[in-house]
Amino acid sequence: MSIPPSHGERRRGRTTMRRAAEGVVLAFIYVCGWLAIIILAAIALFLILNSVRALNEAGLGSMLSGTAWYPTSNPGKFGMLPLILGSLLVTAVALVVSVPLGVAAAVFISEFSGTGVKDIMKSIIEFMAAVPSVVYGLIGVAVVIPLVKDVFALNSGMTALAGGIVLGVMSLPTVISISEDALHAVPFDLRQGSAALGNTRWQTTYKVTIPAASSGIFAAVMLGLGRAIGETMAVLMLTGNAAIMPTSVLESVRTMTGTIAAEMGEVVQGGLHYSVLFAVGLVLFVITFAINLAADLVLEGQRKRWRR
């Protein structure tokens, strides 16, 4: 006569099943985690492979330093400098708009608004981020371009300034929400300590809270910059797209993103021009990658700082 299996023995079969299920789930999660890295590496590889022809025939150095962009002349001139400077100029204008407005808005939301107002503002800002960029472009065409034309008495309002202003507004949600997170992460203890020394709310904010959050605010600006430099549709609609060396913000400029979007439809697949556009994409990829990496490192540094 055998002893009937104990409760634990009867459960053993089920435990094995559960272990197997757990293994499958873990493997799936593991692959998904690595997927992001694999995709990123694939994008980089794809860009490099497609730019090989441009790098061989036009040469990286002469493309980066060339001031003439005449891709359709014979032979084509592929100087990217006007495009790179165009992107940087528009982005610089965007920063001038988004940094003061964004940081001030973040300070208001984090330090001075009541709970109700804070919740409403945060959802509105999330909504701002969800508006398609072509809509921002339309508003720019209808409002900002005529305004710039009239204020500066120009023949055309399609300028780096107009593109930059709209781009600045578009990167506001990024700047605001990340700055707000950074301010929010400053321990309440510090604010209390400052208040207990006879400081007003505003004195505490600019003497303690903002400096303590400065690295996070810097990261917010960097991410806003990354957003602005990669934006395509709005700048294509607003900057006039003249591929000339820019000398002022009141001139028409063409950005790297705008060039790729505008010209890709008209090139011969696999041709030199086609490959050069991929090289432009590669330069853009390297710039945005570097900006995001810098922002991430700064944010990580901040996280460590308050972990005490």
Binding site: D189, A195, A196, G198, N199, Q203, P211, A212
Partner: protein, 294 residues
């Protein structure tokens, strides 16, 4: 058994106590001549506090004499810290807190519209439970309050920083490294830095909310030594969970108790520390200090 808590405390009696030494009395007299009144005395009448609709403290009457140490003791959640924060109106910062009754500092009502909480906090400093130095240098931490008050001259700031750090017994450890970041100090040093920071605004009163609870025994000892020295120049009100600490450092002790979660906390008894720890009037005080609850 209770008396054993009282270590060497001779000469630490409250000002004006009948058994005060003659020399001390003479010192008080000279001080009195120097400034016609010694500043830094609180008077609380019928003080009550509510968080939203929840009444947490009710009917507290208390006299805090100048240049003495008053300890607030009682079990967790009895409103000691809340009462402490009434004295520099830090409850204002939390919002949703209503304080009733009357609190005067040197005879002036501090709760009325006429008193600016910002100005009040320059006169009533606070040291918090967890050291909270600002993310800047040691020097800038101490100079923070004076700079708020508009002091800009370097010589004056230097002197204040040195004096304040000496006051909190940190000077000898940091005098060569004033530019060092405050976060590089140990926990105990950070807390003494926070005391120096509070001293630098030349307050009449310093409130301490369990200033040593996050510190090791040696750092605690240093904080207690600092408090003993400080009471020559400022009034100290300290919240502590540690009854031996209350017995060692305070002149008068106030025992608070919230007897049920439905009822607000009351001040059960306040009196000379020696008496509170040897022969309290209220049986609940006796139960608490002998460790029967709390």
């Amino acid at each position: 058994m209770v008396t054993a808590l009282l270590l060497e405390r001779e000469g630490a009696a409250p000002l004006g106590a009948p058994h005060m030494h003659v020399r001390e009395a003479a010192e008080v007299a000279t001080r009195d001549e120097a400034s016609s009144t010694i500043r830094g005395s609180f008077s609380l009448t019928g003080v009550s506090v509510a968080y939203g609709r929840d009444q947490v403290i009710e009917g507290v009457d208390m006299e805090i004499p100048p240049r003495s140490v008053t300890a607030l003791i009682g079990p967790s959640g009895c409103g000691k810290s809340t009462l402490l924060r009434c004295l520099n109106r830090m409850n204002d910062e939390l919002g949703n807190v209503t304080v009733g009754g009357r609190i005067t500092l040197d005879g002036v009502d501090i709760m009325g519209k006429a008193m600016d909480p910002v100005e009040l906090r320059m006169r009533v400093g606070q040291v918090f439970q967890r050291p909270n130095p600002f993310p800047m240098s040691i020097y800038d931490n101490v100079a923070y309050g004076p700079r708020t008050q508009g002091i800009r001259r370097k010589a004056e700031l230097d002197a204040l920083v040195e004096e304040s750090l000496k006051g909190s017994a940190l000077w000898d450890e940091v005098k060569k490294s004033l530019k060092k970041h405050a976060f590089e100090l140990s926990g105990g040093q950070q807390q003494r830095l926070c005391i120096a920071r509070a001293l630098a605004t030349k307050p009449e009163v310093i409130l301490m909310d369990e200033p040593a609870s996050a510190l090791d025994p040696i750092s605690t000892q240093q904080i207690e030594d600092t408090i003993a020295k400080l009471k020559d120049s400022v009034t100290i009100v300290i919240v502590t969970h540690n009854m031996q600490q209350a017995a060692r450092i305070s002149d008068q002790t106030a025992f608070m108790l919230r007897e049920s979660l439905e009822a607000p906390a009351h001040l059960i008894e306040i009196g000379d520390t020696k008496k509170m720890f040897t022969n309290p009037d209220d049986p609940r005080t006796e139960s608490y200090i002998t460790g029967r609850f709390g």
